[in-house]
Symmetry: C2
Subunit: 202 residues, 2 copies
DNA sequence: ACGCCCATGTAAGCGGTTACATGATTGT
DNA sequence: ACAATCATGTAACCGCTTACATGGGCGT
């Protein structure tokens, strides 16, 4: 239910073609709310049918066209309503914690592999988000630049500060997941004895 | 895709009727993986059709029946395969962080309300999970008691330790969310000036 | 007799995933 | 000429949500 608001957040700074929107999405708001292009195109059509955006077919070369989407007043109001209203929270559904709670039924090797993989996954996410934080601080993200160019300089610090704040939450999350899984590895050592090192084959 | 493994984790300690399973689910593994009863009954039927469980209709009173589910060998193996294999991770899709990153387009009041609500939500979750941690430490959860009764005393510490570990991750998460949102409230004060207190109407 | 709990679902719809499908344009 | 990338989708399926639906059993 949040995809459309993520899309509108981008369209609010100016019209974009479906393709450009999708590309910008992947390197900006897509870090916060993932969506593949195969979901974005249909969602735009659906939003158009609901009057939130209008699509304008523009010629491209001889035969090609590209569809440029503009946010409508109605879309702007829907976005504002989402921003002003409460968020609904989904109940917990955490596969990693679920599995962790029953690790006594896994082999020690599988338990270690699971935890190592958890660390690997969240380290990867952490890198992405930290890199994005740096781009935000440097005001280097193209979408952010467009956004700042479209707003009064007086509001720039606010815009940057909130963007930073949103990503900081993800960074905190990733760090917490990594720390948790590291404690898990120590716990496995405690319960089963330290791992035979890979080098210990001889 | 994890629901069936959550159900099998319970059925592994012994057969349960759909109803009992659903009830036990809500007060144990349901904290880690939420599912309403309207999802559990059909999932059990589906698992039966795949041979993971068998359902046995037992008479109840004169006309009533209850369907008692047993884990099959095939189900046990599927559970083991899940435990031994890797978990697949979903890409980030965090409505709260998404909204946070665009809070400059909300009124200060809405921003504060959002953050306060975030804190309220996660405090509620935190309470649940901390209460569950206490029940784990006291070995007071009925499902945990059944589980321990069905396993060798030598393995009890492990079982309890991993269950604790799983919930600790959720507790960490909740604390991180609360700390983040509190920083957010401070940030809003910084950016817009401190809130007029409710008492400040005079 | 009544109400609460036991007991088990169905149906419609939504958001998302995965895989597939097609063709035009631009730069080398 | 060819490749990369621009550009836009469709179709099938899956897990989950929400609301609705029904009836028996048991304790007071």
């Amino acid at each position: 239910m949040s995809l459309r608001y993520a899309l509108m957040a981008l369209l609010r700074v100016g019209p974009l073609s479906g393709y450009d929107l999708q590309k910008q999405f992947q390197v900006s708001v897509g870090h916060l709310w993932h969506a593949p292009d195969s979901q974005i195109y249909p969602e735009l059509r659906k939003m158009e049918s609901e009057g939130l955006v209008v699509g304008e077919d523009q010629p491209r070369g001889e035969r090609g066209t590209r569809r440029v989407y503009h946010l409508t007043d109605e879309g702007d109001q829907a976005y504002a309503a989402w921003m002003e209203g409460p968020l609904s929270y989904a109940r917990a559904r955490e596969p990693a914690n679920l599995k962790a709670a029953y690790l006594e039924s896994a082999s020690p090797e599988a338990a270690r592999a699971f935890l190592a993989d958890h660390i690997r996954h969240w380290r990867g996410e952490l890198e992405q988000w930290e890199a994005e934080l740096e781009r935000i601080d440097a005001r280097a993200n193209p979408m952010l630049q467009r956004r700042l160019a479209a707003t009064h300089p007086r509001d720039h610090d606010r815009t940057v500060a909130f963007k930073r704040f949103g990503y900081e939450g993800l960074v905190d999350r990733a760090r917490a997941e990594i720390a948790w899984a590291e404690r898990g590895l120590a716990l496995v050592d405690d319960l089963y004895g330290p791992e035979d090192t890979v080098a210990g084959h001889a």
